[in-house]
């Protein structure tokens, strides 16, 4: 029997993005329960016990993050990270289109848990239509008495506002996001302090990913033990895996954490386009190290512990499939161009390093390079690591270094075709 969807519930229930339908299916009962019968601290404890980990990329335990909120400094804010810009990631968009109220309810419960009276949804600028839809839905919640003052006759009040970015990948990084929300350039902040101490407008702030928040109503409604019945011991719950690249059936697949790459790619994704041979996997979008797609890798469970054992990260679970027709010099040229374009320019190793990597890979691509350039590329990428203010710097090197280490033959073949540069 097929397992019912937990996050992509709109695939089971038609018109779930209609408030009436959502409420007919138990919608906002978890929020009511939290506000009317649970202390904020109890909500935090339940989410802690569920083992839910952040779905935005870092996998940080959600309840633990909430417990870090500074209760000596007020007001508090909660910000939903709907920037979704990692190449290969398209899950938050489906949630917000198909099952928006479950996400909003999660945001509302999170706000109650840390006693925030204002929450923001920061959407990438490209989600302009989506932001307008959300605005209308937020208005419906006001009209229904689910947002506003003195909710359910208690002292608790809550308002939600959307805020549109304007095209900058770096604004997905939570401190750059907060800067952007304050009307500034989206450049990361020096940490510590972290947002739960000093966040939006200088106040304690919790930033959570859209998918993370969409899990919360179910956890409050059905309990931590129920949630832990999915997934693995250390990575409990379900995850939306975004499958893209050279597969027959790309798309979002909601599966328990710990599902193998093989099941995702070959059962759900129906294998490789044109019956070709799989060559590599990127598990965390363009920020991934390249995993050699051998039998062992294919049988690896996709969770926060097993993927690092392959020398890679699960990140936001954006699985890009690469087949034998793709040469790695072409591939890293795409990722390098991406990161060079998206570097915010605040620190030198990232700004200059991505510029030089672009210069070198373009030369390799134009057929004007030799083996020394390939080594130089490795060198430049290595130099970026460990010296940057935010993780984008490291991200820009992951595909490059792993391609050079794990697929040297692709580069050897490329420079062998060429005259040595003088």
């Amino acid at each position: 029997m097929k397992r019912p969807y937990l996050l992509l519930r709109h695939r089971d229930i038609p018109d779930l993005n209609d408030l009436t339908v959502y409420r007919q299916n138990g919608g906002f009962e978890a929020f009511r329960k939290a506000v009317t019968s649970l202390q904020p601290q109890e909500v935090v404890e339940i989410v802690k016990a569920s083992g839910l980990r952040g779905r935005g990329g870092a996998g940080f335990p959600t309840g633990l993050k909430w417990s870090f909120i500074d209760n000596k400094n007020w007001p508090h804010y909660v910000v939903a990270n709907a920037d979704e810009s990692e190449p290969g990631t398209f899950k938050d968009r489906e949630i917000m289109e198909g099952n928006p109220f479950q996400f909003l309810e999660g945001l509302m419960i999170a706000s109650y848990a840390v006693q925030a009276n204002v929450a923001y949804v920061y959407l990438r600028g490209e989600f302009w239509q989506l932001a307008h839809q959300l605005d209308r839905r937020i208005q419906q919640l006001h009209n229904a008495g689910l947002l506003g003052d003195r909710l359910f006759g208690t002292d608790y009040s809550l308002r939600i506002f959307t805020h549109l970015g304007a095209g900058a990948y770096i604004c997905g990084e939570e401190t750059a996001l907060l800067e952007s929300l304050e009307g500034k350039l989206g450049q990361p902040r020096l940490r510590p302090p972290f947002p739960p101490a000093v966040g939006l407008f200088g106040k304690p702030t919790i930033v959570n990913n859209v998918e993370t928040l969409a899990n919360v109503p179910l956890i409050i409604e059905r309990g931590a033990d129920w949630y832990r019945s999915f997934g693995t011991e250390k990575s409990p719950g379900v995850k939306i895996f975004c499958l893209s690249g050279r597969v027959n059936r790309p798309g979002n697949y909601e599966l328990p954490l710990g599902t193998t790459f093989r099941e995702l790619i070959f059962e759900h994704g129906k294998g490789i386009l044109g019956g070709k041979q799989i060559k590599a996997i990127m598990a965390a979008g363009a920020s991934s190290a390249l995993i050699v797609a051998d039998e062992r890798a294919l049988d690896t469970p996709m969770d926060y512990e097993s993927v690092p054992a392959l020398g890679a990260q699960l990140g936001s679970a954006s699985i890009i499939v690469i087949d034998e027709t793709v040469s790695m010099d072409w591939l890293i040229r795409k990722t390098i161009h991406f990161f060079q374009h998206e570097s915010c320019g605040k620190c030198t190793p990232c700004r200059e390093g991505t510029y030089w990597m672009k210069h070198i890979i373009d030369r390799i691509h134009r057929g004007q390079a030799n083996q020394n350039d390939v080594e130089l590329l490795y060198d430049v990428a290595s130099q970026i690591r460990g010296k940057c203010l935010c993780a984008l710097g490291e991200f820009s090197t992951e595909a490059v270094l792993s391609a050079l280490e794990r697929f040297p033959q692709d580069f050897a073949a490329r420079v062998a075709q060429q005259e040595p540069a003088l």
């Binding site: 490209e126 506002f161 805020h163 304007a166 304050e182 009307g183 975004c242 499958l243 363009a286 991406f338």
Partner: protein, 165 residues
């Protein structure tokens, strides 16, 4: 006189109300979108008007226009077709799609058609990688998505704009 403030008084007030009164600057990005809607792009005059509304120096508002890719400081086509050619889409034919689209329109990437109607640009991931080829269309009004496209379907859309400019 401040044209934006006069013409959009209530909208600006509603925008400012989203943020704490001592953090008006947070409204800079929504106001830049408003300016773009009104003037087609962010004009020098718009920078001054926004800076007056928010009490922020115009140069700082101008920096935002340079930093964020969806703001423009010069006019472009009425419709900006922004094709994603990032890695996942490129693995599914997006680069060929872009090339053929440009050929059909008779322009290069980054250029505008002589009638000023269409600019073609290539952009990074749009969070629709399972529906490549895809593009968004940005106008002064806002942004719409067009997914699972072919050159034929894209040109059909273009013809509806041409016949109704």
């Amino acid at each position: 006189m401040n044209h934006l403030r006069e013409k959009y008084a209530s909208e600006i007030e509603a925008t400012l109300a989203k943020y704490p009164p001592d953090h008006k600057r947070a409204a800079a990005m929504p106001l830049l979108y408003l300016a773009q809607r009104e003037y087609g792009y962010v004009t020098k005059q718009a920078l001054i008007e926004i800076s007056e509304i928010l009490d922020v120096p115009p140069t700082e508002i101008g920096q935002l226009v340079g930093f964020y890719t969806l703001y423009y400081d010069e006019p472009g086509g009425k419709y900006r077709i922004q094709v994603c050619t990032d890695l996942p889409c490129a693995l599914r034919g997006a680069e060929e799609f872009l090339e053929q689209l440009c050929e059909n329109l008779g322009i290069q990437v980054g250029e505008t058609t002589p009638d000023g109607l269409i600019t073609v640009e290539k952009v990074m991931c749009l969070a629709g990688c399972d529906r490549a080829p895809l593009f968004q269309v940005q106008t002064a009004e806002g942004i719409t998505y067009h997914e699972n496209q072919s050159v034929e379907s894209a040109m059909k859309l273009v013809r509806t704009w041409q016949s109704n400019p």
